[in-house]
């Protein structure tokens, strides 16, 4: 059931990730990522999740809260997410105890955090990205859903919410390698946990929605320039967490060793010919002709 006030409460969980775009990545001499030098941005899949929250905000007037777990610099991810989805609340779960957490320990923190959102009225829809570009496991979302006890629906490409019946109607894309891809249409009772497919983008097709969108985007710019007013920081103590279930003690998975994949040796050879002079070019033409034969001239 929706909460008594009738507004839809939406949560988004995001992650601050290294910016893997050209020129922003730096590596250590042993081939691992240099985290101090590399710029951090809101992860691309987290941005998709934020845009899904924008859809709920525009179409249903939802109350949006964005949450992340990380060091204080993760505020940057919250700010960038607020710029996309015009969030009403920003939650940062930051504590030294959380360091070294694997997916299970992270989801325990997020579970406790989501329970505290929207003045503890209860969240109706939680959005998360498909996977992080640095961890690449895609497990934190489903595990948080499981800990919250919400139905989990992954790879969603479209959704609508029936507020009266308190149901979500969704479409999800399933890729079966070696078999046909499937688009599944399903219904789930609220509250529901949704992981967006990377191909998701919101679609606003009525005039009132587009006007509403423009108003929200203006408001988002103003809000994100003063994002600290909306920011709340939580520690392990204020989340009332069991210290055994978070951070390193709560992590059953550890990375033992990371090794480089040796680059495969090239079997082909290349001759480099300077193409500035005409003589060289005709030499190139002759060699292409020699390889391809008469098929090239018809």
């Amino acid at each position: 059931m929706l909460n008594p006030s009738g507004t839809l409460n939406v949560a988004v969980i995001v992650k601050l990730e290294p910016d893997f775009s050209e020129g922003n990545v730096s590596y250590n001499s042993d081939g691992t990522l240099n985290r101090a030098e590399t710029k951090n941005v809101l992860g691309p899949h987290s941005a998709v999740a934020s845009s899904a929250a924008l859809y709920a905000k525009v179409k249903y007037g939802a109350n949006v809260s964005v949450a992340t777990m990380g060091p204080p610099i993760a505020e940057a991810a919250l700010q960038q997410s607020q710029l996309i989805c015009n969030a009403d609340e920003l939650h940062l779960y930051s504590d030294r105890i959380f360091a070294g957490a694997d997916t299970l320990a992270t989801s325990e923190v997020l579970r406790a955090g989501i329970k505290k959102m929207a003045n503890e009225q209860g969240i109706d829809v939680v959005f998360s990205g498909h996977r992080a570009s640095d961890g690449e496991t895609g497990q934190t979302g489903p595990q948080t859903a499981w800990k919250l006890g919400y139905p989990f629906i992954g790879n969603v490409i479209d959704y609508d919410i029936d507020k009266e019946r308190s149901y979500a109607r969704l479409q999800r894309l399933i890729k079966n390698y070696g078999h046909n891809d499937i688009i599944e249409e399903l219904e789930a009772p609220l509250p529901v946990f949704i992981t967006l497919d990377p191909s998701y983008s919101p679609f606003f097709n009525t005039v009132s929605q587009r006007l509403n969108l423009a108003r929200n985007q203006n408001e988002a710019e103003k809000r994100s320039s003063r994002y600290k007013e909306h920011l709340k920081t939580f520690s392990a103590q204020s989340l009332e967490l069991n210290l055994k279930s978070v951070g390193l003690p709560g992590s059953p998975t550890i990375v033992y060793k990371v090794e480089k994949i040796p680059r495969a040796k090239a079997n082909r050879k290349a001759d480099i010919i300077d193409g500035c002079s005409q003589e060289n070019l005709s030499q190139v033409a002759r060699r292409i002709y020699g390889i391809l034969g008469e098929t090239i001239i018809k």
Partner: protein, 245 residues
Amino acid sequence: MTKSSVSETKTDANNIQGILVNDTENENLKRTAEEQERDEKNHNMHLYVVIEQEEGKILPVSFEMLGEGRRLMDNFNSKYNPKENVVAIILGHNIKHLCQELIYHGADAVICADHPELRYPRNLLYTKIISQIATDKSSAAQISSSNNTFNKPRYMFFSADDTGRHLSSTVLAELESGLASDINKLVINDLEIDTNIRLRESQSVTKRPWKCIDQTSQAFFGLLYFVWIISIPKTKKNFILRHAA
């Protein structure tokens, strides 16, 4: 804890991009005597492979997992001699005919849950049933009668496609286990992990062997499922050869 009761995973030099290993045993938490006693009584046994099917057709990735599971457990059995099996779990509706095919492809036993509700993979339902099967002592007793103190699977395999990836996360959240994703090579080997990796500098460092899956969890969901165990046919090798030909 003796070293022989512990199984480990190790990277093979130069060939793997990275590996995650499991350790639910928390060195920096004091373990009660009761917990230790419980661990000694309970055994993690067998390799469970979660098979995926679509409209009565098994997806190719499932056969890949069975083949790899067969190789891994044959190696494990010859090395440590515990006689553990490869167990396939298949969920769906009208799929009993698929069980025989899974035996041909290398499974020692098949646990099949057949119900109209299971026709499509729904995460919540599938998670509850798979974790119930994985902690079910009676079906494990049917697979190998030698040991009836079965607690949990030693290893579980899931495919890394959209359904299996989400299922693996939620099932192992229920079983409170670690999880390595996007695996391209697996080796079982004796290995001592330097606990430096886990502990902060302030804490004392001791070397102890690590264990795969360790804590208990309660299966709680009451949906009926059909358990069908097939004993290993004596002519299994012939079947596999014929199939390959």
